[in-house]
Symmetry: C2
Subunit: 356 residues, 2 copies
């Protein structure tokens, strides 16, 4: 177990050392450690090596010149200048929040960015402003549309955070696929089979091989197959791709750059990097904030206090498990796999900074 | 087979006769016939009897005083005064479009409305203005959250329409469940079993009985079960519920009124009717419209021309099947079940108007 502070200090120091400003290194550590606290380890310190290698390969700029390319009172397009996704994402969400303060809502689409960690982090930034936060990002293609054998979409997550009054906020943060790539890798390492409805082989037939992505296979959209509504998951994943790319001119579909350095970038002069989409809606742009939040508490209690199915103690409200993790890990410390500690310590050695 | 014009004239006349204005009766016929043309019969003329009976029960107002309760430059809350959902919905979407013209985007939440037909109709209104249209609505509770036995959510659809250049627009319009209620009814009538992953019984166990909703059962969220991501479908359905209700003060979760007269309204003085959420985003609020639309054409062709799985001729882009239906039915006529013709002719008799 490691304390939040120790891991945050280490992460911040690492990104400072490769050239990030104090502010940006803090942001990167904030986002990665939020994932560790919330139990989304796949988007936490595990990603440090990927970001580091992308930087070594000059695919990430540590002092990006982030610019607003175009704007109206409620919208903007931000060019991230190949910066770290966390740095670009936070700036873009702050801009959405500023616009919402002025005209009720703010909507910012981003191009030329990179993998930004957990989508929920940015949506949750809206909460302290009594706003609803909305975040989407596209990602490198691993998912085949319904009836297609080609990998054209990422796991393209959506995160929505909605403030409440006495109850903790509603925070939904989910991929638009039944499963994330990381979980497939884990099944493969453990010698387990993938359940039906997760992946297909290169001919589009349902597969139980968790390693099928290395053999031309693909993850399927949420729903699993057509009979169970995978075309709805395909709609959802493509909406995320379109909002993240078409509005900003970022890479779309098969043209979203990989978030790891060992995969090459597919050249396409039409498009620019990874895309995100951020939204902020002031709740008092619709009705008095106090009324909204009181009703939100009632909603949360209605759902949480509903009757659970056999074998389950309670019904969860989106955000409950992550918040419980956060409280526990802030108090008791964060478990980090020894292998991951080894990996980041190797980077620390290369950078001549203190190891964990 | 019936011509579009004949069915439209009949539907319009029917709603004129119960007291709708010429404009409103036209709107109702436009929305219902759009569903018939697009092959979404569950939301077409089949619903006439439901609206008629709700009107007879004084649960629908035919000359509603639709008001804007609150607004900012980019937002508004509309009170539908218990009007027909199509009349209220169209007015609210027009308001979102007006706001988008002024400040880039417009977002309107609605309370005190009723069932509004197909969500896609409103999203598609944005297209002719070079805008992206977004529509959500909550609906009477038939869906149990993951790990719950209680029916707390509707099939809560989302529709997103995105303009393209030479290609027809992208139009996604989908429920946040694997299946709609209408299809379960059909299976029951045909004596078929429901596949796994559609419904659960009153104790929350997976069921294959398509009639289980009449025995305390529930539809499950998109994903089917926890292993296949039903918690993501639950997130999605609840986001639709929250955007439709919390922002406007409409009924939420279990408090959304039934869209049929034979089910009573559950009294809750805190909330007002059915809720919707509409959004319009001007594409040139982000980048030049011509650039956006050219890139959109490339996206559509990339997906449509990808390699299909065995047994499928092509990969579909959201909106393709509905558009193909529309072209075919406009030319060849619309098939309407004899039983449905009988039913609407009974209403025509009651209203002393010419039958089909």
């Amino acid at each position: 177990m490691y304390t939040y502070q120790l891991l945050h200090d280490f992460t911040k120091k690492l990104f400072l050392t490769i050239g990030c400003s104090n502010e940006d290194a803090t942001t990167v550590a904030d986002v990665l450690l939020a994932a560790e606290l919330r139990g989304i380890e796949s988007h936490g310190m595990l990603r440090i090596a990927d970001y580091y290698n992308l930087w070594k390969n000059k695919r990430i700029t540590v002092n990006p010149n982030i610019t607003v390319v175009h704007e109206t009172p409620s919208t903007a397009v931000v060019d991230g200048d190949s910066g770290l996704g966390m740095v670009v994402g936070k700036k873009a969400m702050l801009l959405a929040i500023e616009k919402a303060k002025a005209v009720g809502t703010g909507w910012v689409s981003v191009r030329n960015s990179n993998h930004f960690g957990i989508a929920g982090f940015y949506s949750m930034m809206a909460l302290q402003n009594d706003m609803i936060g909305i975040t989407m990002t596209n990602a490198n293609p691993l998912v085949a549309p319904t009836f297609s054998v080609d990998r054209l979409l990422g796991t393209n997550p959506i995160a929505v955070a909605i403030p409440a009054d006495k109850q903790p906020a509603y925070v939904a943060d989910f991929a638009t696929t039944p499963i994330a790539r990381g979980k497939l890798d884990l099944m493969h390492k453990k010698g387990l089979k993938a359940p039906d409805g997760y992946v297909q082989d290169k001919s589009g037939k349902s597969s139980n091989d968790p390693n099928i992505l290395t053999q031309g296979g693909a993850i399927v959209p949420l729903g699993g197959d057509y009979l169970h509504g995978s075309h709805k998951g395909y709609c959802l994943g493509s909406i995320v791709d379109l909002f993240s790319s078409m509005l900003s001119g970022a890479g779309y579909g098969p043209w979203v750059p990989p978030s790891v350095a060992y995969l090459p970038v597919k050249e396409n002069p039409d498009v620019k990097g990874t895309g995100h989409f951020f939204g902020a809606m002031r709740i008092d742009a619709f009705r008095p904030a106090s009324e909204f939040k009181e009703m939100m508490d009632k909603w949360i209690l209605t759902f949480r206090n509903s009757n659970p199915t056999e074998g389950h103690e309670k019904v969860l409200v989106p955000g409950d498990p992550e918040r419980e993790n956060e409280i526990k890990r802030m108090k008791e410390g964060i478990p980090v796999m020894p292998l991951l500690i080894e990996k980041v310590n190797e980077i620390a050695d290369e950078l001549k900074i203190e190891k964990i």
